[in-house]
């Protein structure tokens, strides 16, 4: 346990019965938001699976174009970042602010590694002329290949946007942890951002095999 100095004490908002009521209500709001996220990504995934059923050869060729080693690396990076995110919450809950900051920092770095690998993948494709929809002008593909890559860019792009937003949220709670806002008696913000970051991991768990392996 290493609390350098006592941070600000959290007072729950007046429309709640007590701090616990506030924590549970906030978390329930985060979970409702997560359901909308699942439905949004879910609709895109079902669309992907329908067109994969209609044009299996096109999707197989598209999937073969992707480097599964980079996808697998990114999967492990995100799973590891989920672990460090969960550990960040664990340490704030036992009032070890230093270790919480360390773990949240590692989570943030994992986000950068993920985006770096994504950048390598995207720039390689752009170089070959693999763009979504009508901008596709790569050689040696089936006529319907742009369909696969439109899904690829939509799914990975939307997921990438969530990674960027998640990283922003992690940076925000890191500042608040450093200021001493969170402790074993109040960690709502860290918990909520954690749930969001794990959802980003959750979406990628489905995207990796569907796009890279069985495409």
């Amino acid at each position: 346990m290493s609390i350098a100095k006592e941070g600000e004490v959290h007072h729950f908002a007046h429309h709640f019965d007590d701090a616990d009521h506030e924590y549970e209500s906030t978390k329930q709001g985060v979970w409702l938001f997560m359901v909308t996220e699942v439905l949004m990504f879910g609709a895109l995934l079902v669309g992907y699976l329908i067109f994969k059923g209609l044009y299996p050869e096109v999707f197989e060729q598209g999937g073969d174009t992707l480097n599964w080693k980079l996808g697998a690396t990114n999967t492990v990076v995100l799973i590891f970042s989920s672990l460090t995110m969960a550990l960040g919450i664990y340490y704030i809950r036992i009032d070890d602010r230093k270790k919480a900051l360390l773990n949240l920092g590692i989570t943030l770095i994992c986000g950068f590694i993920f985006l770096g690998i994504k950048y390598i993948e995207y720039s390689h494709k752009f170089h070959l002329g693999i763009f979504p929809g009508k901008y596709f002008h790569a050689e040696g593909f089936m006529p319907d290949a742009p369909l696969y890559f439109s899904f690829y860019y939509m799914l990975t792009g939307l997921h990438g946007l969530h990674v960027v937003i998640g990283m922003g949220l992690i940076a925000w709670i890191m500042i608040r942890v450093a200021r001493g806002t969170y402790s074993s008696s109040y960690w709502t913000g860290v918990e909520g951002v954690g749930i969001f970051w794990h959802l980003v991991d959750l979406v990628w768990i489905y995207l990796f095999p569907l796009l890279y392996l069985v495409g």
């Binding site: 359901v35 329908i50 799973i79 969960a86």
Partner: protein, 105 residues
């Protein structure tokens, strides 16, 4: 309803370090399994095997990392409802495509 929730959550469960690490190791092993399973050609079943393993991984992330295992019934119902409707949506659509339009895939 608020009152019953209070009784449930006065003591928030703190998951041990060891459990965190176990979940992480299980997720890495399942990722390797996903890659290995994709090397075999089972036709259309490759997709379903991939989705199945992904769902096992998702359950680990939701239950332990997202603390849903230790959460109140309400949040579990909320999230399960989302997944249930997604399942309904996808199963009906996919049964149609894979049995009627493209039975050879």
């Amino acid at each position: 309803m608020a009152e019953t929730q209070h009784h449930e959550h006065h003591h928030h469960h703190l998951m041990s370090l060891q459990t965190h690490l176990k979940v992480f190791v299980a997720l890495v092993i399942l990722t390797v399994l996903t890659v290995v399973a994709a090397q075999f050609h089972f036709g259309v079943f490759n997709t379903f095997i991939a989705i199945f393993i992904a769902t096992v991984k998702a359950t680990l992330v939701m239950g332990w990392f997202m603390h849903l295992k230790y959460d109140g019934v309400m949040n579990r119902v909320i999230f399960a409802a989302g997944f249930f409707f997604l399942l309904l949506f996808s199963v009906v659509c996919l049964l149609d495509i894979y049995t009627r339009i493209n039975p050879r895939a």
